[in-house]
């Protein structure tokens, strides 16, 4: 495939992911007490192996290079900052971004799950945003699913030799959007099971249109990350 064709394929894939999907609900973090107990436990159990993997991955990274602790702390602080900012979006509601893309590209997706859960616990306890009961579900969507998708897209674009800036942009943007998707799916799944209403039609405040402009946020974040990682002279953990 020529370079242009490759670019076209990756861009169209990202586009279709962004705009072609119409899920139902659209909460950012699932609020406290809004998931039935069974689902809470399920999501918690599902997230646990990823967290253990993340912990092991962080330990290995730190043992290899002592200096990576500072970068890890900065990636964690980045998630902290970005997820505290409520940015207005086009449909008239505010949303928080996750910021997990950076950590995923630098350290691999597993390590970000640990960083993400720390932020989520802080937000659940001190801010009443998200919740302790829904910690498993929130962790899965924000700290596991999103970063894995980011990392997957990063590897895919690298394989197709796409320009680095575009790669980082796509990886972060789509990863963030996938987090919203998972949140929506997680929240929306259980009430809809009871009532078999048409899932796509119920999305009155259409998710896709609300996320469309905010997908540019992660892109610019993505570029800022790229440009910031070069002076630090640290390349992403895995090739």
């Amino acid at each position: 495939m020529t370079k242009k064709q490759r670019w076209l394929v990756s861009a169209s894939a990202a586009f279709s992911l962004c705009f072609g999907i119409m899920p139902a609900a659209f909460a950012m973090h699932i609020m406290e007490g809004y998931l039935p107990v069974g689902y809470c436990v399920l999501w918690g159990v599902v997230s646990l192996p990823f967290l253990i993997w993340g912990f092991i991955s962080i330990k290995k990274t730190v043992e290899e290079n002592r200096r990576s602790i500072t970068l890890l702390a900065m990636a964690g602080a980045f998630i902290f900052v970005i997820s505290s900012l409520k940015i207005p979006s086009v449909t008239g509601s505010c949303s928080h971004m996750t910021g997990t893309g950076l950590g995923a590209l630098l350290f691999g997706p597993a390590a970000v799950s640990v960083l993400g859960i720390i932020v989520l616990i802080f937000q659940a306890i001190l801010l009443a945003h998200g919740g302790l009961t829904t910690l498993g579900a929130n962790t899965f969507s924000m700290a596991i699913a999103g970063p894995f998708v980011s990392y997957g897209i990063y590897l895919l674009c690298n394989r197709m030799k796409v320009n680095r800036k575009v790669t980082v942009f796509l990886a972060c943007a789509v990863g963030d959007l996938f987090t919203y998707l998972c949140d929506g799916g997680g929240t929306g799944l259980w009430p809809i099971r009871r009532k078999t209403a048409a899932w796509p039609l119920r999305s009155s405040n259409s998710w896709a249109s609300s996320r469309r402009p905010s997908c540019l946020w992660p892109s610019s974040k993505g570029f800022c990350r790229w440009s910031s990682s070069s002076p630090l002279k640290i390349t992403p953990a895995r090739k």
Binding site: A24, G33, M74, F80, S84, S93, I125, A128, F223
Partner: protein, 120 residues
Amino acid sequence: MANPSTNAVKTKKPMSKDKKTVIILLVVVALLALIPLFTLKGAEFGGSDDAGSQMISQVQGKEYTPWATPVLEQLIGGELPGEVESLLFCVQTGIGVGIIAFFLGRFVERKKLGKEDQEL
């Protein structure tokens, strides 16, 4: 022998291409946040949490009462006031930015001193 260029007055270098791109992107990002604010007149920029609970009651057909309340709300005996919530979000931002700025400053100084390899 001291390097004469460090003693002389620094000449102004043209802005690098990367710097320009980053600045432009930052401006775009700021516009992304500001444009909805100014174009959607009268829109209530509520959080997506409220919208989510509305959506659920819409799908279910009846009001859904959560079975757990957040820890902080239990402690203060009610919903968190809007201003206090803003304060705590600011504190969160402050902590994060503090960490980032501290390490970033360290990196800049390390590079300036040319002592990148040392254990600083």
